[in-house]
Amino acid sequence: MSYIEVNSLKKDFVVKKKREKGKLLREKETVNALKGVSFSVEKGELVGYIGPNGAGKSTTVKILSGILTPDGGEVKVGGIVPWKERKKHVKNIGVVFGQRSQLWWDVPIIDSYNLLKDIYRIPQKDYEERLKELTEALQLEPIMRTPLRLTSLGQRMRAELCGSLLHRPELLFLDEPTIGLDAVSKLSLREFLKWENREHGTTIMLTTHDMEDIEALCSRVMVLGHGKKLFDGKLSDLLERYDTVRNVHVKFSSEYPNLKLPEGVEWQKGEDGIVLSYKPSKLPTAKLLSILQDAGNISELMLQPENTDHMIAAMYKELDL
């Protein structure tokens, strides 16, 4: 049996709508946030969980962390049903919600940690050791005695992460942890997550919209849409399956030549030169390049690297999400 077992998980929400004119009661609509999702995760895995807004990602995380009770299906995390034995379950997990804060706003960060130490009943020695380790890894030393309200977003995110890991959880849920962070903070956060996963074998489940997070961290990715699981496997396999458009920027040294472009290639005027978009599956890149070369007088040519965001967008479109 795997560490996390999810079987045909269902969750409905009732959304009340504004009363329509001439009707006595408000209309209610049931939204099926999860329509039977199943998957399993092994210990020590680093899994990405993606999907458009409203796909049911956060709902899954909330059920797995024992906050919500599902309307159907089975869930077991380390043999425990999260919402049935909430207190026992949450001792082993850590959660970071990128858009929320668990630390106390008005008091120094270290005081919030001391509270967490008592909440999770971490032995003093173990706590000191772990705190030292995390402080170094997350570079928290300079802000330890600062009230949370005086820290920057990047510092706060690192502090939140430390708070969620103090009790050495076996399983860490990250719900959009890099939201709103600058490039340096993002990179260091990713480095840290990799380190935590490697050093302590912490199982990590990451939901995000940032494809770079997934690329950098997750060997396995699950795609959720309309409350269903649409894909489960390697990121590279996912990207291969979905044909995406690539762009070439071309700059000409003199006159703009009369190009005879094959079907499927679109062009538009860029700042200095033109941008061609094509699908590599229909027209191999090499062939396009030879066409351009034949046209002559090219001064500069730039192939845009593959953009995961575009691919994911194309995939969502294809799956009608």
């Binding site: 906050i67 919500l68 009770t69 919600f97 008005d106 909440i119």
Partner: protein, 262 residues
Amino acid sequence: MSYLTVFKMRLRMELQYRGAMIGGIFCQMFFGIVLVALYRALYAGKTQSVPIENIATYVWLQQAFFRMMFATDTELTDKIKSGDISYDLCRPVNMYAFYYARIAAQKLMGSVMRAVPMLTMAFLLPKGWGISLPVSPLGFALCVPAFVLGFLCVCALENISVAFTMKSLDPRGIAALLNLLMMIMSGNLLPLTLFPESWQKVITLFPYAQLLDAPIRLYTGEYVPADALRIYAVQAFWVVTLIWLGVVMWNANRKRMIVQGG
């Protein structure tokens, strides 16, 4: 113990708002003096069933512990509104007890920090204007447990309104209602001792009368020491009932709860 730690944390946080405390003291001092002046004017030399010294004492004690009575932990209700409560739900603690400890700390620190300077000043005012000494050392000794029971009662009441907020998502409606009831039925607006005799029989049985009215009456001697056990019994009944009700509400909330968005 995590409940004790959250209690201590909230105490410390309360200390961060010293400006609010000083403002609150001035405001409550002003209210106290105006109210006492008002009752003195109404009495105007005529003898009444309740002596003016007792009324002044009643008013001052009510004003000094004003912070204890009314719901003021907006951070808690904000958490529910914004969904930050998710984090608290991911902790291996009992939610009711966790929030009860928080509420208790905020009420205790908030009111004691104001009560000490206020009561000191009220003692310095001339007799009939300020607060009088307790009726007897025994009266004072009996008032202390009543105060503790009243305190437990008011925390349980606030936790119910927090649990209710989980349902309504907006604390203002229920808070407005409860605060109005609190103002009238606790004796904050008009000392309960001035209500008609027949009303008092009923009103003193309500939970609101247990908070400050009961201990104040033991302090001023309106309740004689022989009444004490009966008073404690009524208070204890409400403490148990309100905590039970709160726990039931919290448990029901957990089953039907939704945390929306993100």
